[in-house]
Symmetry: C2
Subunit: 315 residues, 2 copies
Amino acid sequence: MHTLLILSRHARDYHALVEAARLPDLAITATTDPGVASDAAGSFDLAFGEPALLRQILPALTGVGWVQSTWAGVEPLLDPALRRDYILTNARGVFGVQMSEYVFAYLLAHERKIFEKQASQAAGRWDPEPPTRLRGKQLGLLGVGTIGAALARTAKHFGMGVKGYTRASEDSADVDRYFHGSLAEVSAAFASDLDYLVSVMPDTAATRHLIGDEFLRALPPRAVFVNPGRGGVVDENALAAALQDGRLAGAVLDVFETEPLPADHVFWRLPNVRITSHTAALSAPPDIAPIFIDNYRRLVQGEPLRYRVDFERGY
Amino acid sequence: MHTLLILSRHARDYHALVEAARLPDLAITATTDPGVASDAAGSFDLAFGEPALLRQILPALTGVGWVQSTWAGVEPLLDPALRRDYILTNARGVFGVQMSEYVFAYLLAHERKIFEKQASQAAGRWDPEPPTRLRGKQLGLLGVGTIGAALARTAKHFGMGVKGYTRASEDSADVDRYFHGSLAEVSAAFASDLDYLVSVMPDTAATRHLIGDEFLRALPPRAVFVNPGRGGVVDENALAAALQDGRLAGAVLDVFETEPLPADHVFWRLPNVRITSHTAALSAPPDIAPIFIDNYRRLVQGEPLRYRVDFERGY
């Protein structure tokens, strides 16, 4: 018999979805409150929920051998001060659709000048200014996992060129050219002809502030930066300076070093920045529950779990 | 020897593009001014240009046997008072890319709430309101020619369902279900589950005000209407009433019965209307010149010309 703690803002939804799967030999406790969960913490051998909530009671979950995160990002559980004597799996493979809709909404909005058209309309002005075209433009992806691959596929549908920067993987055939190694060394070849740069890199020691002044200077001034990935990969001061100096045409920012973005942050006041308040890809229970369910079946059959996080690598 | 009149706002570009093709036995006169063209009008046997300009000197072009339009819409040349003793061909097959970028820019903008996010940003407000998804939504196409087929293909890329209403053709395999016959008779089956309705119908006697009060009442209140096609197919009073009464969620309008849209038109003041000022798909000389060039080669080889317009049918 396994005993599962579901600790999530969506505890009720996850409880219903996991119960509906009629998993064998499983007793479930579901709550939104880490305080409630901590009373019986020692009795659970499995946990499923948001890393930010699980972190609060991780020291008390002494019997837990496997934690399934409902999020892709597991930073709250990577603090070196926390225990790492369990298997941690995260959510992957389900964000490509949302990310693709998010990124291409803003790429097409930029080409079609939809905010400019909206401003003309507000002024009651017929505005025949011609749009530009996404077809033939160049997209650069920082990170090509399942999300990057989904973005590359949509880019190809729209007739774009696609470049990808990864640590080593070359899994997506929709990427025309891959770049590896030190970003500083490849930045001229990778970045100098981009119309759009999209970061879907995880937040790790190796990616921290990777998008800084030096890399931003490799981009052409027409480029638009889109960040639906992680805020920590961007040096926000360097990005703000590039946007203010006209070295970058615009930025679409979903994630930040501090969230919610502080009220006095310069990004709120830059006219070429779009702020989307960490909504690019949300963990919806109907998408995420099947990942736990599949992994639970693997657990009871003695198979390796999918999407295991390497604590050292950070993803 | 053939003698060609190029009469276009882009006369210089078209002249250069046609000359670069080194077509055999062709003398070219290119001008932006119908007055200049009319002096030598009787000497031309071919004409290539904008229907609105060609219309002004059509009676004087007594020797012309073939007119290639730079536009898709040839309404100015369809007036029954004008001569029809020549072959008229229009521009087709080149607008799918622009139309697809236009339509999906606004469909994705709607799902991702990008205007609402923009308003939150202007107010300095972090806005975690979740977006919705295009995947799984239902698109209805009024007209499935080359443009409709391009829209259907992009809709399928994004995982949408697609319904198509046509006179008789069923050429696109990306349409899940076709509807024909009287729109009034099929409107319940065609329209009642649509999230988006896009009209790419030509403006003909048969399509005039086809989108009127009765058809609009068949749409669910969540539906958004997009019209990058022709203004004449819409009863604008009926559309404005549906938008004001909340029987329709929104409209994205590129074309109107009168253009530019008059300053006192109600559409300027409706918050759920987006006006794009007839920019959805523009006739760019690099796209259009190859159509003339291909048809000229067909002419000298005695082959049938492509994209011939039926004066009675209107397209």
